[in-house]
């Protein structure tokens, strides 16, 4: 587990960890706020993985909620029908989703960008329909599924605060995986593919393999996040896995900034807070998403992180 983390990054990580540890204590009187923080952590895992796909290997998936869904329903159903402890069903569900992702990715990655988006939308819809009207009603169809808490080594995570700390550890773990992935041969290959896949091919990079690998990794992250979600709220229904969730992931990623570690953090936090702020006016939610997305694409395609970077450059320029 090498970590080539410079001094500046080390400070950022310290701040992140300290804030993360302190947050539930700050909100100890408001369990709902801790729940929102849990959501943020879960979405952070999913969107970080999504960043590997979109930001680093330059592919698009507009049905990523499908893997989130497979993770959630997979873990809940496995636990319900086989009694395997939740800790393991979450992992099994994530691995299953990764396999499914690899299978779907194999023919999808050779498609042109806009056809890839169609294919991923179609896949997302297929998964949604399968859980909405499942054969033999094994997913509970529209009524959804109830499930139970996650227990870690016998310690049951039955309060939001306990789950929060577990989620924080998982976030750090997943971020570490992502960081090491990206600062390795694999990551560099993906960046090369993103910039120009023909050139990368010419340099001896196995383009197909890495494109599929990016899909697989992002599927794993999304599915594990989905499983976490299932055992946090303990009730899942097809409504939580519609096309709008896929677009939300995309909005979070693009708004925060792609191809970075901190971009997803910014994007997820802001959009989640927006979600909560819009709860009384939930009928306007789609409108706000649309406007936000349009804003980001039209005005700052690099997301908030892109804006920060260009501002920093301007300041450095001025100093000179």
């Amino acid at each position: 587990m090498s970590a080539f983390i410079g001094n500046r990054n080390r400070l950022g990580i310290m701040i992140f960890i300290i804030v993360g540890l302190v947050l539930p204590l700050v909100f100890s009187a408001m369990p709902y706020a801790v729940l929102v923080c849990c959501y943020i952590l879960i979405y952070l895992i999913a969107v970080s993985g999504f960043d590997v796909l979109v930001g680093f290997s330059g592919q698009i998936s507009m049905g990523h909620a499908a893997y989130y869904c497979i993770g959630a329903y997979g873990s809940a159903m496995l636990h319900k029908y086989t009694g395997i402890p939740v800790f393991f069903t979450m992992l099994i569900a994530a691995v299953t989703a990764t396999l499914v992702g690899t299978l779907i990715a194999w023919p999808t990655t050779k498609l042109v960008a806009h056809f890839m988006s169609l294919a991923t939308i179609a896949f997302g819809n297929i998964v949604f329909q399968l859980v909405n009207t499942s054969p033999g009603r094994i997913t509970g169809d529209a009524n959804g599924l109830h499930t139970t808490y996650l227990s870690v080594f016998g310690y049951e995570l039955n309060t939001y605060t306990r789950f929060y700390y577990f989620a924080l550890i998982m976030v750090l773990l997943f971020m570490l995986i992502k960081y090491n992935l990206l600062h390795s041969r694999v990551g560099r290959a993906m960046l090369a593919i993103r910039e120009n896949d023909h050139a990368a091919n010419g340099m001896g990079v196995n383009v197909r393999f890495y494109k599929v690998a990016a899909f697989a990794v992002s599927a794993f992250f999304a599915a594990y996040a989905g499983a976490m979600f299932a055992h946090l709220v303990r009730y899942i229904s097809p409504d939580s896995f519609k096309q709008t969730v896929s677009v939300m992931f995309l909005t979070m990623l693009l708004f925060g900034g792609t191809a970075s570690m901190s971009g997803p953090i910014i994007g997820v936090t802001i959009v989640s807070l927006l979600n909560e702020a819009l709860r009384p006016a939930s009928s306007y939610k789609m409108l706000v998403y649309g406007v936000l997305l349009l804003f980001v694409i039209l005005i700052f395609p690099g997301g908030i992180l892109g804006v920060m970077r260009s501002m920093k450059e301007k300041i450095i320029q001025k100093r000179k």
């Binding site: 698009i60 507009m62 023919p107 999808t108 498609l111 042109v112 960008a113 806009h114 056809f115 988006s117 169609l118 294919a119 939308i121 179609a122 896949f123 819809n125 297929i126 329909q129 399968l130 009207t133 677009v247 995309l250 693009l254 009928s283 306007y284 939610k285 789609m286 409108l287 998403y289 649309g290 406007v291 936000l292 997305l293 349009l294 694409i297 039209l298 395609p301």
Partner: protein, 290 residues
């Protein structure tokens, strides 16, 4: 029962076909995919109700008004969003995302302006049903079939045989070369999106009496419209209608004989299969490489 299902399938297929025509038009003439088409249809349907039902204007006037409004709406979207993005030189996928964002805005906007309740579109024709093969069908559905084939023929003729159509195709294939030939790429692209907006409007007005009008009318049909376009060959007008018919028949026959639950799954699976195995569709429409 087979006859009823068959005719319903044809009608549904023609609706998908008209939507697919809009997609193909935009793709043929600007090389882009627009997810906003379905929702433009919704706007067309809502405008139809406003003019025809609330303001009691004659149907012919309503259609013309709607056509003009939607034409400018389509052009407006192109000029305000698409052109700006293309000038920036962003990846084409961002344009697709922008159209998705527009689709969200339109959907929610319609909900706010016209209310969340499903509205009723009154019958357009004096005779509300027509007898065919011994069964009764809504007049509008037969009209839809006729309209879709007509539009397809018009578009096919326009794109292949007229100067303006060829100019549009040239702008899509290679904007710089087209400009070098003296074609005003901006105007042709704007016109195309305007026409696509009109097509969407017409589809919406036709669908209103058949399905009722609600804010997600377009997006549900829209995604299926994509499937229709891909099956027939994305960008091919005859293919759009044929693809639509195939999809429509597949859906209604599946609903009728197997179960209506699996209708959507079948559509999306067919879409994915075509994308994976034969993305150039039934009519061999090669994609425009950027």
């Amino acid at each position: 029962m087979l006859i009823t299902l068959f005719v319903s399938g044809i009608v549904l297929g023609c609706i998908y076909g008209i939507v697919a025509l809009g997609y193909s038009l935009i793709y043929k003439a600007s090389g882009l995919m627009s997810f906003a088409q379905g929702d433009l249809m919704t706007v067309g349907a809502y405008l139809g109700i406003t003019f025809y039902s609330y303001m009691k204007l004659p149907f012919f006037i309503s259609i013309i008004l709607i056509g003009v409004i939607m034409f400018f709406l389509g052009m407006g979207i192109e000029r305000g969003v698409i052109r700006r993005l293309r000038r920036k030189g962003v990846e084409p996928i961002y344009v697709v995302l922008a159209t998705i964002a527009i689709s969200f805005i339109i959907q929610n906007g319609c909900q706010k302006v016209w209310g969340p309740v499903m509205l009723n579109f009154p019958s357009i024709f004096k005779t509300s049903t027509i007898q065919l093969f011994g069964r009764n069908f809504q007049t509008e559905s037969i009209f839809t079939v006729i309209a879709s084939f007509t539009i397809m023929a018009i578009l096919q003729f326009f794109m292949k045989k007229t100067k303006a159509g060829t100019a549009m195709r040239a702008s899509a294939m290679d904007p710089i070369a087209a400009k070098a030939c003296g074609i005003n790429v901006n105007i042709t692209t704007g016109l195309t999106w305007g026409c696509a907006g009109c097509t969407a409007a017409l589809a919406g007005v036709l669908m209103g009496p058949l399905y009722g009008v609600f804010s997600t009318l377009g997006s549900q049909i829209g995604t299926k419209g994509f499937a229709a376009a891909v099956i027939g060959g994305y960008g091919n007008f005859v293919g759009s209608i044929v693809g639509g018919l195939i999809l429509g028949l597949l859906e209604t026959l599946t609903s009728g004989y197997i179960s209506s639950n699996y209708r959507d799954i079948i559509s999306y699976t067919v879409l994915i299969l075509f994308l994976f195995i034969r993305p150039w569709g039934l009519f061999n429409e090669r994609t425009i490489k950027n």
